[in-house]
């Protein structure tokens, strides 16, 4: 089974074997026999076969988390910014460029020309992209198109997208993106920085300039105002965190 051999090599290299990037290897691991063989092989060297989700990418994980490994993981999480910073900024720029229809999940397509055009049309997005740090090889004074190209190339180097159409510069999002989302989810559930459990958005009617001055009855106890979904938008409605 040459495809299984290749899949095992990819797993050993620490790759996330997904349908978008390694279709043959992914198919070999989807097969029950291939998966059993991979589990046996990995088990013999102290690892196991894992998936990012029910139908997500396959990867190689430690079979047992030792005390030393836990300590090492804690240390890595103390400096997790290095893992997040370049990729999160790029993906968020792409998400904003895609507007109300973001497509940055496994299997979604990104087109360089489409992104460049949208970003050029928005001065805010263009400034954000041009001021973005940590883009490999970025030069002062280069065009927006060039910067978008570098962003996609960097995402490809990190393994989050794969170029599927070199002619029209089409990139497909790989299954590794789920790793990033799960990491952010883990951070959100273990730190107060991203959690909005204690946050209640409040719109004070008197401060709205588009509303006529009216008498506002004080809200009943326990109801601090209109609930708004902030949706993480930086330019969303003004929110005041509850104490």
């Amino acid at each position: 089974m040459p495809r299984l051999d290749s899949a095992l090599k990819r797993l050993a290299e620490g790759c996330f074997v997904c349908e978008a990037k390694y279709p043959d290897e992914y198919e070999a691991l989807l097969d029950a026999g291939g998966r059993t063989e991979a589990e046996r092989w990995l088990g013999a060297i102290g690892y196991r076969l894992a998936r990012l989700s029910g139908d997500g990418a396959f990867f190689m994980a430690h079979a047992v988390a030792t005390t030393e490994m836990r300590a090492q993981l804690r240390e890595e999480l103390k400096s997790v910014r290095g893992k997040l910073e370049p990729v999160v900024a790029i993906l968020e720029s792409i998400r904003q460029a895609q507007g109300r229809d973001p497509q940055i999940h496994s299997g979604d397509m990104l087109w360089e020309s489409e992104l460049s055009e949208v970003i050029r049309q928005s001065s805010t997005l263009e400034r954000r992209v041009m001021e973005m740090p940590d883009i490999h090889g970025a030069r002062v004074g280069e065009s927006t198109n060039e910067r978008v190209r570098r962003m996609l190339v960097q995402l490809e180097a990190e393994g989050y997208v794969v170029e599927t159409n070199p002619t029209t510069k089409g990139y497909k999002v790989t299954g590794k993106i789920d790793y990033l989302y799960q990491l952010i989810e883990f951070i959100a559930s273990n730190t107060p920085h991203l959690s909005d459990d204690d946050v209640v958005d409040e719109v004070v009617e008197q401060l709205r300039i588009d509303a006529p001055p009216t008498e506002v009855d004080p809200p009943p106890a326990g109801d601090s105002g209109t609930q708004q979904d902030r949706s993480g938008e930086p330019d969303g409605p003004t929110g005041t965190p509850a104490p």
Binding site: I45, R70, S79, A89, E185
Partner: protein
Amino acid sequence: MTSPIKEVLNALNRHADLVETALSGMIFAEGASPASIATLRQASALRAVGESGYRLHPRLREYLHDHLQLIPAFQSLAEIGSRITHMQALWTEIDTQRFAVDQEALSSLLESMSTSIYDIEDSVERNLLILQTLVSTRFGNVKSLATKRSQNNYYQTQTTHLSGDLVRLARVAEGIEREASVRGLDELAIGLRRGVLARLMGWQAGLSEMQTEIRKELYRTREVERQHKLLARMDMMLRQQPAWRGFDVDLPDIIPDFLLAARLPALVPHVEPMESDRSIADEMAMIAKSLPPRRLVVEDPEPPRRYTLVEDPPVERKPSPAAKAMVRLARAVNVARAPISLIEWREADADARTLRSDVWLVYAVLGMRTRNFKVEVLANQPHEGEQFAHSFSDARVSPNRLAPDQGASVR
């Protein structure tokens, strides 16, 4: 003689282009032939909408969609609630008319009941087929996340209604079938059993699977939205808190799989584990124990070939007769009181005579001068017309020795 049905079908056939156009939306009087519109309106295939627009008859549109397998993003499922009510009403009427004299009316009612059962069966099957198609294709190719979420909610509501209708259908059909059997209407009871009751279990199971899939899709949609939100907030935090490097957390007992993602280290020729790293040291010890035992070096039974340098024994070189004569000559000169003629001394020595006289003369002159004896060459008489001769026939060696530098200068 023609029938109204044939006329309608002929009208549709003659104006099929207009029917096809009307299938995709409203048509206007300005964009179509008035005669075509009039004919289709006469056949009830077109219905007026607004002031100058027309739409296809809903049932005709539904039929064509069904035929073409066109499933809009928000396809309404066929409603069976009214048909169940109709079936219940028909049964009440049949029960009333059962003993009536007018058997024709009863037959008509039974035929209507049979049609209703068929319609219900067909509607449920079609609904399940549509749902299955939509679920397997992830609800069609909607273009945005918001539409997908809205569509999922729509079908969740639709399937909930359909599920309620199926429960009601089971109750009504069982009641009618039981009463029909009791009242001797076996044909109706058999039709209900075959058409509805025998399939109810499969319909409910299929619908339950669809609802589960739709719930999963809804959950997935919510997850996607949450991931987008967290991505945006993470980006905002990284921008606003440049000093944030990470966080300290007590890892749970069961660590999420993605945190345990690993890769095999690249092979390195020299591993130098740190002494403090216990795990590596243990692993190295384990690997060392698992290595095969070292091979003992067994000597080769046949000794290697050795080579000895064989040198010729030193040959004692015997002095030549001339050398012996030279030694004796030097000894004789040392003890002599007057110069010795080399030619005369040769005549008295046998070894010296082994050389020719001229060779001996040159050999002896050089030997004596080397030993720093004073040698005087006796030149021959010059020929006529010459001042001196260039040849000599004898030499005399004096016993007096010269200093080394004098001997060299005399030469």
